[in-house]
């Protein structure tokens, strides 16, 4: 096995490489539909998959909804046509066994596939149009999971397999992909997945826009099929992530793989296939890949971040062209109330919050002082700190955790710092916070 090490020259290029790809990941520019379509077709060719129909949609949410409805229709037509084909083939076999050959079946199958594909395409386009129209009114196009995996696998596996030396992979991976991923993931893929998941879970849940899109898309498909495909579509909607690829939002992988190729200089014939995947990330946003069609989503319309983490205190941190939005505080997904009307939260809402991160954000936004006052926290100890000339209070919260309230003598800001449960005095809390150095301190400012 070759053992490679990352040269100082290559290491020096990592920050610039990261920034370049972070720019791609964070982009809110319109996608290049033609170039992304070309890249998707290239991936399918590399995986020996038939060329898909490609449709443009406004958001991952729209892709999930339209994809589920169109997928349900495609499944229905495939099953119907296959059943017709089987009976035709059986009767033909019985009557003309010697003269009938595989070409009959092949031509039958081919024509069936073409018919199914064409009709699915038609219904996909129709449902896309309907949901696009619907979402516009409300506020404002593959492969299956296997084919998604196959095309991605075919495009990327050789670039990352064992032939890429362990040490090179480890050092490059650690240096590039991890840092890019860590710095952007919360702002991109996780947020997209979370917002799409939330809204598709109950088919719409809290999103009126998503509900309207769903109603429009499923009605078009049901009408075209002449049967109720709602359950089938719902099933596919719940599995939306199986068909999903983040495109630009997953470009942290491309940052890593392209670094090995372009900076380290390792070349391999598989890079030709991988280039399609990379181009789809550069030119396109998230996509929904079904066997018969691919839906190319626009990138987010707006993305507000702080240190590459979604964050906005005056509105949604991320919004999509279909009108769907996501609310985030320091990367934590919250709701509109927590961002815009935090004072309207109730103690019950905060106490019943099961997600600890969200609970912390809820309290921060609500105000620790008010929370302690209204939540029934118990005062365990208080004193006047003569050196700092401030009062200190040690509280036991309803979950048994403790917070000491301190006031900074320079700024007047109040702090509610967590201290261990066994501490029973304010000095004990100060000792914990200062590693016992507070006992030696003559001054605080």
């Amino acid at each position: 096995m070759n053992r490679w090490t990352l040269t100082d020259e290559a290491k020096a290029q990592i920050p610039e490489w990261n920034e370049r790809w972070i720019k791609t990941i964070m982009s809110t520019e319109p996608i290049d539909f033609e170039k992304t379509s070309f890249a998707v077709r290239g991936m399918c060719r590399a995986a020996n998959l038939p060329e898909p129909r490609i449709v443009h949609v406004l958001s991952p949410m729209m892709a999930a909804i339209v994809g589920a409805c169109a997928g349900a229709y495609w499944n229905y037509r495939s099953a119907t046509d296959a059943s017709t084909d089987d009976s035709t083939a059986a009767s033909t076999d019985a009557r003309t066994a010697a003269s009938t050959d595989d070409s009959t079946r092949a031509s039958t199958a081919a024509s069936t596939d073409a018919r199914t594909a064409a009709s699915t395409y038609a219904s996909t386009r129709a449902s896309t149009r309907a949901s696009t129209r619907a979402s516009t009114y409300a506020s404002t196009r593959a492969s299956t999971r296997a084919s998604t995996r196959a095309s991605t696998y075919a495009s990327t596996r050789d670039s990352t397999d064992a032939r890429t030396d362990d040490s090179t992979r480890a050092s490059t991976y650690a240096s590039t992909r991890d840092s890019t991923y860590a710095r952007t993931d919360a702002s991109t893929d996780d947020s997209t997945a979370a917002s799409t998941d939330d809204s598709t879970d109950a088919r719409t849940d809290d999103s009126e826009v998503a509900r309207v899109m769903w109603m429009a898309a499923i009605s078009v498909v049901n009408e075209k099929a002449g049967v109720d495909l709602t359950k089938s579509a719902e099933s596919l909607l719940r599995r939306w992530y199986d068909f999903y690829n983040g495109g630009s939002e997953w470009a942290s992988w491309c940052c890593y793989l392209s670094f090995v190729r372009d900076v380290i200089g390792w070349s391999h014939p598989s890079h030709e296939n991988y280039a399609h995947y990379e181009n789809a990330a550069i030119y396109g946003g998230p996509r929904y890949m079904h066997r018969a069609f691919v839906l190319l989503s626009e990138r987010a319309a707006e993305r507000h971040t702080e240190d590459n983490v979604l964050h906005c205190e005056i509105g949604p941190a991320i919004s999509w062209h279909c009108g769907t939005t996501g609310w985030y505080i320091h990367g934590v997904r919250v709701d509109e109330q927590i961002v815009m009307r935090p004072e309207s939260q109730t103690i019950e809402q905060i106490k019943s919050e099961s997600n600890e991160e969200v609970r912390r954000v809820r309290i921060d936004r609500f105000g620790w002082e008010r929370f302690i006052t209204e939540s029934g926290a118990t005062l365990r100890h208080k004193r006047r700190n003569e050196r700092d000339q401030q009062f200190e209070q040690l509280f036991v919260l309803d979950d048994g955790t403790q917070r000491i309230k301190l006031v900074d003598p320079s700024t007047g800001r109040k702090y509610f710092l967590g201290v261990p449960r066994e501490i029973d005095t304010c000095q004990g809390a100060q000792d914990f916070i200062s590693h016992n150095l507070d006992q030696y301190a003559t001054h605080r400012s």
Binding site: T373, P409, G412, F432, N436, D438
Partner: protein
């Protein structure tokens, strides 16, 4: 419940900004400490061996509101954290500082500038180690306190 509410209100009356002016330390002997926001300065006997000069004069990284705890003048080093922890425990026998809470070491005369907390001015050549405060997060895990 009523009593607690009153207690909080009473405390609020006494909360005033009383110490945002510069503080000059003409004498800061070994074993002496001082707080500046979320940072603790503790005087140690000598600069640990193997100390390497440090260019970044911001003593506490990771703050979001610009340059804080910036050393003006004096000399600044990055040292072996174990050595610094040991020096602190020798200077302040009751203190036990985990290495992850230890910052650089500097020597005066110098000034530690901060836009919100009062500046600390050291007129002597005392050797000082930087220590970061800690607290518990909502999961009761230790973390560095950031103000």
């Amino acid at each position: 419940m009523t009593t607690k509410t009153k207690s909080v209100k009473k405390v609020q009356k006494h909360e005033t900004i009383i110490n945002d002016s510069p503080r000059t330390f003409d004498d800061f002997p070994t074993g002496c400490a001082a707080h500046q926001g979320d940072v603790i300065f503790v005087s140690i006997a000598a600069v640990p061996k193997g100390a390497k000069p440090r260019k970044n004069r911001q003593l506490a990284d990771g703050n979001t509101q610009g340059s804080r705890h910036v050393l003006i003048g004096g000399e600044l080093w990055n040292c072996d954290l174990k050595d610094v922890a040991k020096a602190i425990s020798v200077a302040c026998p009751k203190a036990r500082v985990d290495e992850k809470y230890i910052g650089p070491v500097f020597r005066g005369p110098c000034e530690i500038d901060h836009p919100e907390h009062g500046n600390h001015i050291h007129t002597t050549d005392t050797v000082i180690a930087v220590v970061y405060q800690r607290n518990l997060d909502d999961d009761e895990r230790e973390q560095r306190t950031l103000d």
